[in-house]
Structure formats: C-alpha cells, structure tokens
Symmetry: C2
Subunit: 169 residues, 2 copies
DNA sequence: CCTAACCTTGAAGCTAACTTCAAGGTCAAG
DNA sequence: CTTGACCTTGAAGTTAGCTTCAAGGTTAGG
C-alpha cells in the first residue's frame, strides 16, 4: 500500500503520516525501488489506534512511549498505569469545567439581578467586585494536563469523491 | 504604579502585561517622562478580570472583543451572548470528556477480561479490534472550541519573598 | 560614583501537532 | 511524449499565549 492509499483508508493526510514517521511515532517502513513508502495492511490499524488515543486525550509523546513496535506485545503495566492516570486527569478537568460552568452561570444571574435603583455603571462595579472577590486564591489544580483535539475535526474530510488538489486554500 | 508593582499586585509577570498591551488587550497607558509606563489602580482589576475570563475558557481574542475600554460600559447583549455560548461549549466538552472517560474505563475492563485460554497476543488483537470497531465514525462534534489554561498554574508564583532575578531558569 | 534592581524595545524562541512550500522524481494513460 | 496525479525531501509556516534575549536607559541606596 502506498502512502496515499493508507491516507484514504485511515482518514489521515499523507503529510500527517510522514510527520508521525519523522517524530518516531511510526517506525520507518519499507521502500519500493523508486523510493515510495510501502505500508502493510496493519498500518491502518496502528493509525486508527493513534487517533483513538488522541481523542482520549493522549499526546503523541505519550502514545509513542506506550505503543510497542509489535502490536501483540504491550507493556501491560505501563499501559494500565497510563490509562488510569489519564482517567484521573479527565476527572480533574471535569471538576474544573463544572466549576467554570457554575461560575459563568452565577455571573449571568448576578448581572441580571441588578437592583432597580442601581444604574448600569454601579451594577457593573457590583458584579465585578463580586466576581473578583469570588476567587480567594489561584485554585491549586496540581495535576497533569490534558490535551484534547480541537473540536473541529482534524481528520481529513472523508473524501467526498476525489480530491483534485487538496481543495483550494 | 509602575509595571513591576502592577505585576506584583495582579500576580502576572511584567512581560505578560506588556504582551497584553502589544496585542491590544490592554490599552496603552500613560508614560512618565523617562518612558516608564504608569498604571492606574484600576489596572489590577482589569488584569484580574482577564485571568478570570481565561480560567473560564475564554481566549484572549474573545476577551478583547468583549472588554470595553470603560469598565462601566459593557455591551450587555454581546456579553450575555458570549457567556451563554461559552457555557454551551463547556457542556459540549463535558460530554466529550464523559465519553472519553467511559471509553477508557471500558478499555481497561476489556483488557482485564482476557479469557483464561487466550494468550496475550490474541487478547491484544481482541481488544484492539473491539476498540476500533467501537468507533462507528468520527464523532461529529461541531461546536466552538474551548481553550483551558494548562493546569500548571500560569500565574507568577505568588512571590515567596523577593524575586532576585525572576528565579533561576 | 557605583551597583543592583528596575525599566525600555524589538526580535526571536517555546510547545504541540501539523500543514504548506519549493523543487524535484515517477508513473500510467492517452 | 506529454500531462497530471502521485511520490520524495527539507525547511519553513501556523496558532495561542507567553517567555527569553540582547542591548540599552533609569533610579535608589550606600
């Protein structure tokens, strides 16, 4: 399989696949006499695995250290450990999000609750003071960070026909 | 107030404050005859507001468009709109996180549920197949993205004494 | 008067995860 | 034998939000 075909089957761009190879996430594959890369069918699965892990919040660095060269020989302990820690990270982030959401809701309410006898300027001041008072200190969230994919899908648009020139612009 | 003092009071670094000015998030302030910036007391509040908004998931760009030059004159409608949309974004992210967490938990269980008569290689294959089958298609989360601060606190360490030289390395 | 801690600027560097570009080689069809 | 869709490489660009650096001016204390 040439890189273009792998790209189609995996939903990634060729440049991304080459990039993964460059950073050592994919091992270097065999080449045809003309220099073209040839991929085994398994490569589709590996790429699927990588994007799945990314969606779960793993960085490429983390994925690299976890991915074995042979898909049938995983470092069981390290993997479980990483999965567990990632869950903890996610939970920490969920807590933060819940707090942020609550904070924003409170803020909205606070803004709308303007006393009838108060003008906008004074209300602004009231709300601001409330809000800043609300934060006793930098909340000390000391845990690993989570990286999520942007919500705009990173995957190559699942070719609706044939790409002519990677689409204009 | 000089920039160093503002930095202390706000918990930000001077470079960060200058950066905010450069990108138009802070309006250019008055200068002393020697060229030093002088800040009004209010600047502390504005910076507090900015970091609070950041913690809530707003980008500096968003904050810039929302922040009025006069803190007592907000664009009420735009503000409420932005707050509401941000809450929606947070909720979308929470959904994703919940899915990711569930996915990871299922994966852990799946790995541990290896049938006694199956060797590791076969189990690996079973788990992989399950996992990749698990994703019917790229889940189409079409919403704005949320940027959260890294969990490692961006704030300047709340000066435990006197910084000599911004601390070594 | 010296020194250290401030302040100034513009430019460059950092991280992550890619993409884009430039410049060129390969290959199948017509 | 020409066209155009592929493939190759290395280098540079992108985004966000800063920091760091280099090179220099200012100021308060002793």
């Amino acid at each position: 399989m040439k890189i273009g075909e792998l790209a189609q089957q995996s939903g990634l761009t060729p440049s991304r696949i080459r990039f993964y190879e460059r950073i050592g996430l994919l091992k270097t594959v065999a080449r045809r006499p003309n220099g073209y890369r040839t991929y085994p069918q398994q490569a589709v699965m590996i790429l699927g695995l990588i994007t799945t892990a990314q969606r779960a919040g793993f960085t490429l660095d983390e994925i690299r250290t976890l991915l074995p060269s042979d898909l049938t020989h995983w470092d069981h302990a390290a993997l479980m450990d990483a999965l567990t820690r990632k869950i903890v990270d996610i939970e920490a982030l969920q807590v933060r999000l819940t707090q942020s959401r609550a904070h924003l809701l409170r803020l909205i309410e606070d803004i709308q609750e303007r006393p009838d006898d108060m003008d906008c300027a004074a209300n602004a001041h009231r709300v601001l003071t409330n809000m800043l008072a609300d934060h006793p200190e930098a909340l000390d969230v000391t845990s690993g960070d989570i990286r999520l994919l942007d919500t705009k899908d990173r995957r190559q648009s699942v070719s609706p026909g044939r790409r002519k020139k990677t689409a204009s612009r």
